[in-house]
């Protein structure tokens, strides 16, 4: 019988001095070092993409939209799911630029969601990227019907009521003034939707369109258009021009002596459009989405308006609210989903609700359109506060049922929603 010898071949694990040291070091590293490595991963900020114009004709509104969005994150102390969160803001100089920014946000910045698209054409471009990349996207300002209509998709959500809803609310007011309408609309999706919606309404209600002009974006001089309107002698002029273009038009409308002579009406106007016009020239009948002085604003909205006033030393414009609510809905949904997975965020966005007055507002599951009320407003006869131009006449539709009716049913929707 042979005694086993310590020099025989090893059949089990051999632990030498070096191995022991290595093991001990690893153990120490796992106990001490790994938590730090783990924390470093957890501390990686969650990135939210924001695409609002930094240049171009819509930049004036975009500033407020962006400030509202950033405020929404600041109100959470820049934290999401217990991790730091940050907004990456890129420009949208034109539809192609908006699309490229969206691609950069997804590809380079690895954002978990996007908010933006100040003009309808920009929002449609971003939406196509969201669909392809499967990243949740909230269009907080664009009003074209296509976004939640025939171009809808599972990853795109829209806050602004579409043109048709605005038109259903404003058109009866315009028809009560007179039934000969002149349409002056921008030559892109937003303006073309307005032209169609108001033409359909007035022709179905026994009126006529006595003239219709499509105006290029960034037109500096409207006097030639105004001369045509003057010659056509309509009862009402329906506008469909946005942001600084509207401001320019109203200044020249007043300058050519048309203020008060022929009523002017337009949907989805922003505070900033009127602030630039000045008290002398401000005129018109409008639909607006939110007003900082509305006594029916929710406590959260009042807190947002106060925080905005404190930070920027001016009232929160409607666009600030839209930027804030669009971002808030996305951030709330990420918290609800307890995840940054796109599919989970989309499902949370579909379930997200927000209390305003007597109704819960949220995105409808069948077309991802947010429903809610609109304000119909004229202009104060005498403006004494440089921020307060709107003379709010009504908040419509009155009942939740009427709201649902104004936004149309699933059967009426052109949206064929795809799947995740």
């Amino acid at each position: 019988m042979t005694e086993p010898t310590s020099k025989g071949p090893a059949t089990g694990p051999r632990v030498g001095r070096r191995g022991l040291l290595l093991g001990a070091t690893s153990l120490v590293a796992s106990r001490l070092g790994m938590p730090y490595i783990g924390n470093a991963a957890a501390a990686e900020p969650i990135k939210i993409g924001m695409i609002w114009a930094k240049t171009g004709s819509i930049v004036d509104q975009a500033e407020y939209l962006a400030q509202g969005g950033m405020l929404a994150l600041e109100q959470r102390n820049n934290m999401l799911l217990g991790r730091p969160a940050e907004i990456v803001w890129l420009d949208e100089p034109n539809p192609q630029g908006a699309q490229q920014s969206a691609e950069r946000l997804v590809g380079e910045q690895k954002v978990v969601g996007m908010v933006g698209g100040a003009l309808s054409s920009f929002a449609l471009a971003i939406s196509s990227v969201a669909k392809k990349a499967k990243i949740p996207y909230v269009a907080a300002n664009a009003a074209t019907g296509d976004l939640t209509g025939k171009s809808c998709n599972k990853y795109t959500f829209r806050l602004q009521p579409p043109v048709d809803v605005h038109a259903r609310i404003l058109a009866p007011y315009c028809a009560s003034i007179g039934k000969k309408w002149y349409l002056l609309t921008a030559s892109y999706a937003f303006g073309q939707d307005i032209k169609r919606a108001f033409t359909d309404y007035i022709t179905a209600n026994g009126g006529t369109v006595v003239g219709a002009d499509e105006v290029p974006v960034g037109t500096p001089d409207y006097s030639s258009f105004i001369l045509k309107i003057r010659a056509a002698k309509p009862d009402v002029v329906i506008g469909g021009i946005a942001a600084s273009d509207l401001t320019t038009f109203l200044k020249q409308w007043n300058e050519l002596g048309m203020k008060g002579k022929i009523p002017f009406a337009e949907i989805s106007v922003g505070n900033t459009d009127l602030w630039g016009v000045g008290p002398e020239a401000a005129d018109g009948l409008y639909t607006i989405t939110w007003w900082y002085k509305n006594p029916d604003n929710s406590p959260e909205e009042q807190a947002m308006a106060a925080a905005y006033q404190k930070k920027y030393n001016r009232p929160a414009a409607d666009k600030a609210w839209m930027g804030w609510l669009g971002m808030k809905s996305l951030l709330d949904s990420i918290e609800m989903a307890k995840s940054t997975e796109p599919a989970a965020i989309v499902q949370a966005l579909e379930a997200w609700k927000y209390r305003r007055g007597d109704m819960d507002i949220g995105y409808r599951d069948f077309d991802h359109q947010m429903t809610g009320r609109l304000l119909v407003a004229g202009i104060h006869p005498k403006i004494t506060d440089k921020w307060d131009y709107f003379d709010v006449k009504a908040e419509l539709p009155k009942t939740p049922d009427d709201v649902a009716k104004a936004f149309g049913t699933k059967a009426e929707s052109a949206c064929k929603m795809d799947s995740l």
Partner: protein
């Protein structure tokens, strides 16, 4: 219909005169200094904002100082930045002035915010006048008369004063002017200042009509470039004729084919350049050949 066409033509003239004011400055800066000034629209915006700020603080008459202040800013910009570009690669000038335009927009946004600011014409220029079928507002008439007066004065300055002769000679052969003992750097500074003053005047006159925003320069610089190209680079008369042509063409397109109004001036430019590549009054300049 004839009434309408006449009205539109007069209206187009006013727009054209405003464009001329902006384009003339661009044209003389290029003609004299050889700099394609992308920041010219920014001086137009600065003129509008200065008119707003001065008018708000001291009343409308103070706004009239806006063009002078814009010219003074132009002088400083020339002395600090532009003069380093003379005789250098043209691309450098393009890049620097483009950067300057972006910087000016950002500074305006920082000071005045991104939202448009209101500015109205003075009360004594409110209302309009009608001559038969032609309707024109008092303010536009004021713009028309002021611009025409400034252009005549500027032409007289160039044609009949020794300073004007130096500028004209310097634009063709700066070396020879320098050899004659004339302090050319001061002349260059003066020319750049005058160009900016004219852009500032355009901005001040446009302020009650256009939207005053930091991005308003874009609405001015493109027509100005089109006008300078149509008229011929560096040509005073060319800029005037081209400006009026662009104004009237735009107004007429609005009357008959409104959706084409934004493209009308570019089509006009393409048509003229096809027939005469140097522009209507463009000459062969040895300096730029």
């Amino acid at each position: 219909m004839l009434d309408m066409i006449l009205s539109q033509a007069v209206n187009g003239l006013v727009l054209g005169f405003l464009y001329v004011l902006i384009a003339i400055g661009l044209s003389i800066i290029f003609g004299m200094l050889g700099i394609v000034n992308f920041a010219h629209g920014a001086f137009f915006a600065v003129g509008a904002y200065l008119a707003y700020a001065l008018g708000k603080e001291f009343g409308w008459w103070a706004a009239l100082a806006a063009p002078l202040l814009t010219g003074a800013i132009g002088v400083v910009v020339e002395m600090v930045l532009i003069r380093h570009l003379y005789g250098k690669e043209p691309l450098l000038g393009l890049i620097l002035t483009f950067a300057l335009a972006l910087l000016a927009e950002a500074v305006l946004r920082l000071i005045f915010g991104g939202a448009p600011v209101p500015f109205a014409a003075p009360k004594f220029l409110a209302g309009f006048v009608e001559y038969g079928p032609i309707l024109i507002t008092k303010y536009r008439l004021f713009v028309l008369v002021t611009t025409a007066l400034v252009l005549v004065l500027f032409w007289a300055f160039l044609a009949y004063t020794p300073y004007g002769r130096i500028i004209r000679a310097g634009s063709r052969d700066p070396e020879m002017v320098g050899l004659l003992g004339i302090n050319l750097p001061i002349v260059f500074t003066g020319v750049f200042g005058i160009g900016c003053l004219l852009a500032g005047l355009g901005g001040m006159l446009a302020a009650p009509l256009w939207t005053i925003t930091p991005s308003m320069a874009a609405g001015a610089i493109m027509p100005a470039f089109v006008i300078v190209t149509i008229g011929g680079l560096g040509s005073f008369l060319g800029a005037i004729v081209a400006g009026l042509l662009v104004g009237i063409t735009t107004a007429m397109t609005i009357q008959f084919q409104p959706e084409w109004s934004g493209a009308a001036m570019y089509v006009l430019m393409a048509a003229i350049l096809l027939i005469r590549p140097r522009g209507l009054f463009g000459e062969r300049w040895e300096r730029f050949e």
